[in-house]
Each structure stands twice: as structure tokens, then as C-alpha cells.
């Protein structure tokens, strides 16, 4: 949870401008309860476990990681859709975790969300116009029915839909069109910040491209700040200015998209990128994939020290003993990674805690001398 390295983030901040959303030591822990009538708390699931992350105004930050790494929970926590159990989140300098009801409503206007499943996130009994104008009513924007209707038309046009569809219901639309409706709704409050959580995952390839292009156009046109959460590294590489990689509740590498994609500095990022298949047969056949051993550990049993050490091909002595902090790596400014290969930086693991889950029995965990 040390934020040592981010002191150097000053250079990056200068290059990127002003920080809009910032997390420091952010934690979202869920209690794990036993079955049975007592439902005793038997453990802690560390969905987000000490995340330091800045999102700069006007950028698209891609957040990647495997299922269960906590990327969605992190997105939710930044918007206070789940309450953080530790650390801080600031939005435009305001502490999000301490907001009262009224201020929270203002945050809801300024920070929106586009969800994964356009089939589940739209109310089947509301017309497109009702869905899109709801935020306008809630926030008292464009008062008056006519003004609201005009704004809805404008929003639909903005996302590439025919304004005539306003009276139709979600079931009349294809997946791609529904996702456009979802985006129109998210844009209704004129937000500064949009979290897109797997926004293209359930769409067909040809439709994904349409939505990716739309998001990019909107981002430039409206000066939006986007957090694009996805497991699809190719899509993230395409749309994002910077990429953040998450593993087991922690951001383990952040940097300019080109630098992270072309020169990953953390073994996990390397493995992740090497596993992404590309549509070029010759290249694909000759490529050496880094196949990781085993499965991601459970977030309720996080390995001590570096949490990737149980699967890391490059594990060595300090990995179980020092929890690595993000440190500057590579040649690109603002490229940071939490890995001891770049120098042992971080907090030593406190061993006296009997409940700290050090899985000594795991053969993969043994340091390679």
C-alpha cells in the first residue's frame, strides 16, 4: 500500500494534465461467511486490496485483468457503487467516500457507467425516451417536457441512433443498438467521467467495432474521461491512452498503452499479452506463449509478498517477503510496475501475524534460487 513510486508521478501528471479521479490505498474487502445458521465471518475476500491509481482528465484509461481480479469492483468503488472498506477515492479533488446524499447525487451526474449487458441493463418496460430522460428528471436538467424530449433526441443522435426510435422498447433493438441506448443514458447528465465495464464484451465483432469507434468519437467530441474496463487486451490497446493491469485486487502495472503493450515490464503482463491470439496465422503459429502454471489464487487467500509469485516464471528470494510497490520501469515516462525484478521496493511482509496466508505447501511458491 505504499505510494512511494507515485511521488515520481509528477512528471506523468505534467504530461497528462490534471488528475480527475484518484485512488490511494483503495480497499474493498467483503466478509466471507460460513454456511449454516450462524453465518460466522470466516475470512475476508480482498476484491480490491490496496490500489493506487490516477485517471487524468480527458484520457482513456484501459483497465485489464482476468476474471476475478477485481477490475469491476474497482470501477464500482471509484463511483462509490460499492463502499470502499479502506483508502481514499477523490473525484475532481473531492473525497468521494465522505459525500453526503446531495453531493453523492451530483457525483452520480458527473460520473456515469456503461454496463456490460445491454439486455439486462435496460428496463424492458420503458421506452428508449423514458430510459434516456430519467437522468434528466432526476438531476433536474432541461426542465419541461419539451426541453427534455429535445435533449433526448439530441442524445440519440449523438450516439448514432435515429431520434425516431425514442418511442420504441428495448426488445425491438439489436445488442449494438441497445448498447448505444445505454451510452446515451450514461451521457444524459453531461458527465465528466464514464466507466465502461466490459461494454463491448457481449457484442459481435462487427458491432464491437462500431461501439468502440463511437466511444472514441464521443470521448474526443465531449472531452470525456473514460475508464475502459475489459478483458479484451486488443480492444483496450486500441482505445486506451494508458493501460492499467490488475492482478488479484492490485494494480500491478500502469503505463502508456504503447509502452505496456510493446514492452510489458511485469511477468504477469507479459504472460497476459503473450496469450492474446492475433489473427495472423504465421505469426500466431510461431509465437511462444507464456503458459502460466495453475489458477489465480482465491482473493480470500492472497499469497504473501508479491501476489503473483505462485504463478510467476521469474520468482526469486524477495518475492514472498516483500510486498512490491509500483516503481518506475522501462523507458516511457509514467510507466510503473510492481515487480522486484526492477529492484526490491515495497513493504516487508510482517510474519508475526499467524493468520497471514502464507501457503508454504504450494510447491510453485518456493523461491527458485
Amino acid at each position: 500500500m505504499s505510494t512511494v513510486s507515485l511521488g515520481k508521478g509528477g512528471a506523468a501528471a505534467a504530461a497528462h494534465g490534471e488528475v480527475l479521479v484518484s485512488a490511494r490505498g483503495l480497499e474493498v474487502h467483503f466478509p466471507v461467511r460460513s454456511g449454516g445458521p450462524l453465518r460466522r465471518t470466516t475470512g475476508v475476500l480482498r476484491a480490491v486490496d490496496g490500489v493506487d491509481l490516477d485517471v487524468y482528465r480527458g484520457e482513456t484509461l484501459g483497465l485489464v485483468g482476468e476474471s476475478g481480479c477485481g477490475k469491476s469492483t474497482l470501477g464500482n468503488a471509484l463511483l462509490r457503487l460499492v463502499p470502499p472498506t479502506g483508502g481514499t477515492v477523490t473525484f475532481d479533488g473531492i473525497d468521494v467516500t465522505a459525500l453526503g446524499r446531495k453531493q453523492l447525487r451530483e457525483l452520480r451526474r458527473r460520473a456515469g457507467m456503461v454496463f456490460q449487458d445491454p439486455f439486462a441493463s435496460l428496463d424492458p418496460r420503458r421506452t428508449v425516451a423514458q430510459t434516456v430522460s430519467e437522468p434528466l428528471e432526476v438531476h433536474g436538467l432541461h426542465p419541461g417536457r419539451q426541453a427534455r424530449a429535445a435533449r433526448v433526441q439530441e442524445l440519440l443522435q449523438l450516439v448514432g441512433l435515429d431520434p425516431a426510435v425514442a418511442t420504441r422498447y428495448p426488445h425491438e433493438f439489436s445488442g449494438g443498438q441497445r448498447q448505444r441506448v445505454g451510452i446515451a443514458r450514461a451521457l444524459a447528465g453531461e458527465p465528466d467521467f464514464l466507466v465502461c465495464d466490459e461494454a463491448i464484451a457481449s457484442l459481435d465483432v462487427s458491432i464491437q467495432a462500431q461501439v468502440l469507434n463511437l466511444l472514441r468519437r464521443l470521448q474526443r467530441q465531449l472531452g470525456l474521461t473514460l475508464l475502459f474496463i475489459s478483458h479484451d487486451l486488443s480492444a483496450v490497446r486500441h482505445i486506451a491512452d494508458r493501460i492499467a493491469v490488475m492482478y488479484l485486487g492490485r494494480v500491478v502495472e500502469v503505463g502508456p498503452a504503447a509502452a505496456v503493450a510493446a514492452g510489458p515490464q511485469m511477468p504477469y503482463t507479459r504472460a497476459l499479452l503473450s496469450a492474446v491470439p492475433v489473427p495472423h496465422p504465421e505469426l500466431e503459429r510461431s509465437r511462444q506463449r507464456i503458459v502460466l502454471r495453475g489458477d489465480v489464487p482465491s482473493p480470500s487467500r492472497v499469497p504473501s509478498g508479491c501476489r503473483f509469485r505462485t504463478r510467476c516464471p521469474d520468482v526469486f528470494e524477495p518475492c514472498p517477503d516483500v510486498d512490491p510497490a509500483l516503481q518506475p520501469v522501462g523507458s516511457a515516462p509514467g510507466h510503473v510496475a510492481a515487480c522486484h525484478l526492477h529492484g526490491v521496493v515495497g513493504e516487508p511482509v510482517r510474519r508475526e501475524q499467524p493468520d497471514s496466508p502464507v501457503d508454504a505447501g504450494d510447491p510453485a511458491a518456493r523461491p527458485v534460487a
Partner: protein, 338 residues
């Protein structure tokens, strides 16, 4: 990888057509599909949702309910006609002949039975094997698919395993009777890329070790590039392009294939420009356009026949590579530049 041209045909499909009765009227889901799979060969079937790629294999195995589906055409597995087979014979053929892996391992495994029980059931259904023997073989299969601690895994329930582990179990079940043909329908789509890489390696090993023929249904052209010998691109229930993986992905001839490849953000080339898009949406099988199935979305349509006549699959480009013709169903021919 492609020492397959010599392989004998394992599965031959000719003019397969599937019509389904739906609440919205009859749907022509598969409209005249012909292809073959040889031993040790991987054929990838690519297409978007609704293109008929899954239905076409379900139809082959008699897995579509007869009340709603009309299947015509011919399909031979090892020379034996599949479509005219009695349900009993089909059951016998499916286990040792064909193994299937579906997208979601949680729905293809029974949640209330242990992994071991499900594997043993499959093994014993197709051979005179004692329980103990079957269990031993089950453990062997789990080792083969790379499940750690297979003996213990046998006594576990599906919910105790991760998604990647479950999919390995499903593959183990599909392989339990050493089928000559493995059909994988979006088998890695729900998995993370790192797990996908493990599964793809596994399938590749099976193919080289056992000469299993593989039909890999997917929408992921990256996966196709890595594992396929041959590709079949489906659109609107038809094959619109087929050929070797290099021909189809590197020298696509059909405007749809070109569109799909252009729409793909590419990690290898890292082009940051706008993605090419295919306007509109795929046609509903209840309402297919007349003429070429792709013409309403086609960027290069120009031939008078586009709107009236379905183009046949014709040899294009360099023609035949490694004994396989590169064919595309388009009127636009070579003129339809990228």
C-alpha cells in the same frame, strides 16, 4: 502442422440445410453447407451470432429437437450416414465417434454429481468396463487434460472447480471414449486468455498425439489463426468463404471476411486509426435477403446479380494451396478491393 492433406476424410457434409419452426415463422438457419474434416485436421467455423455455425453441428449429431427442426442433406462420419441414423445407433456413434465441448462448462456438467461419476458414466456407457477400471481411466484422462491432483478432483463437484478446470473436465468427458472427431463450440470464449492458451495447447496435443479431427466453432479470428488448418466463414447460414487458414485470414476474398478482419482491433499491428466497421447488423434467419446474403451490408456491391442471385462458392485468388481450394461466394470477385 499441416501434414493433414494426406489424412482421409473423417466427416463429410453435403448440402446441409436446417429449417427451424420459430414463433416468428420458419427460419432458414443453415442453407446448403458442404465441407469435410480429415483425420488430424482442425477446421475452424467462424461467424457471428445467428450465422448458423452452432446449429449446423447440432444438426449433424441429431441434437436438434425433431419437432421444430427439419434437417436435409447428407453427412457421413467414417462413411456411415449420420442423418438417417436411428436414435439408438446415433447414441452409440456419438460417444466413441464424436466428442462435444460447449461454451459454458457449468451448464454442460451436472452440478449434483461428482466429476468422477460423470466421467465414469461416459466411459461405462460405451464399453464393458468395471467401475474401478473406469475410475482409473477417468483419473488418467484428468491427468491428460492437465488437471492438478486428478485423484482428488474425481470426488469434487463442478462448483468446487474454477472455470478453466471445469472446461478441462468437459474436454476430458468429450475425450473419454477417444473420439475420432472433437467438436468445440465456443469452448474457450468464456475463459480468460491465459486459460484459453492452456486449453488450445491441450487440443493441439490431442490432435497430434491421437490424430483427432477437430471442428472449432468460434468468432475469435485470433484463436483461428493459431489452431486451424482450414477455415469456413459462415454468414446468414451459408459458407461465404473457405480455404486454408493462411489464404482466408491473410488474403480474404469475401467482403464480409475482409470486414470482420478490418473490424478487429489488432494487438500485433497496433493500428490506432478508426476501426473499419460493417454497417448494419447480421440478417435474422427468419428474414434473409434475396440474392447474396451479404448485399444489404456489403460495401462493394455493384454487380446487377447481387440483389437477385446468391453467388456460388468459386475458386478465387491463388486457387489451390496444399490441396485445398480457396473459395468465396461473391459476385465481386477480384475487383472488390479491400
Amino acid at each position: 502442422m499441416t501434414a493433414t492433406a494426406a489424412g482421409e476424410p473423417l466427416l463429410e457434409v453435403e448440402d446441409l440445410r436446417v429449417r427451424l419452426r420459430t414463433p416468428r415463422g420458419p427460419a432458414s438457419v443453415v442453407n446448403g453447407l458442404s465441407y469435410s474434416v480429415r483425420r488430424g485436421e482442425t477446421v475452424a467455423v467462424v461467424g457471428e451470432s445467428g450465422s448458423g455455425k452452432s446449429v449446423s453441428v447440432l444438426a449433424l449429431l441429431g441434437l436438434l429437437p425433431a419437432r421444430v427442426a427439419t434437417v436435409t442433406g447428407a453427412a457421413r462420419l467414417d462413411g456411415e450416414d449420420l442423418l438417417g441414423m436411428s436414435p439408438e445407433r446415433l447414441r452409440q456413434v456419438r460417444g466413441p465417434g464424436v466428442g462435444m465441448v460447449f461454451q459454458d462448462p457449468m451448464t454442460s456438467l451436472n452440478p449434483v454429481l461428482t466429476i468422477g461419476r460423470q466421467l465414469v458414466e461416459g466411459i461405462r456407457a460405451h464399453g464393458e468396463v468395471s467401475k474401478a477400471e473406469a475410475r482409473e481411466r477417468a483419473a488418467g484422462l484428468l491427468t491428460e487434460v492437465g488437471l492438478p491432483d486428478p485423484e482428488r478432483a474425481l470426488d469434487r463437484y463442478p462448483h468446487e472447480l474454477s472455470g478453466g478446470m471445469r472446461q478441462r473436465v468437459v474436454i476430458a468427458i468429450a475425450l473419454s471414449n477417444s473420439p475420432s472427431l472433437l467438436i468445440a463450440d465456443e469452448a474457450t470464449t468464456a475463459l480468460d486468455v491465459t486459460v484459453q492458451a492452456q486449453i488450445l495447447d491441450l487440443v493441439e496435443k490431442l490432435r497430434t498425439d491421437h490424430g483427432t479431427g477437430v471442428i472449432w466453432i468460434t468468432h475469435d479470428l485470433g484463436v483461428v489463426a493459431g489452431i486451424a488448418d482450414r477455415v469456413l466463414v459462415m454468414y446468414g447460414g451459408r459458407c461465404v468463404e473457405d480455404g486454408t487458414v493462411d489464404d482466408v485470414l491473410e488474403r480474404p476474398a469475401h467482403p464480409y471476411t475482409r470486414g470482420l478482419l478490418g473490424a478487429l482491433p489488432d494487438l500485433a499491428t497496433a493500428d490506432e486509426g478508426e476501426l473499419a466497421t460493417i454497417p448494419g447488423t447480421p440478417p435474422a434467419p427468419t428474414d434473409l435477403p434475396t440474392g447474396c446474403v451479404f448485399w444489404p451490408r456489403c460495401p462493394v456491391r455493384g454487380d446487377a446479380r447481387c440483389e437477385t442471385e446468391q453467388p456460388p462458392l468459386q475458386v478465387v485468388g491463388a486457387g489451390v494451396t496444399k490441396g485445398l481450394p480457396h473459395r468465396a461466394a461473391t459476385w465481386c470477385g477480384e475487383g472488390g478491393a479491400r
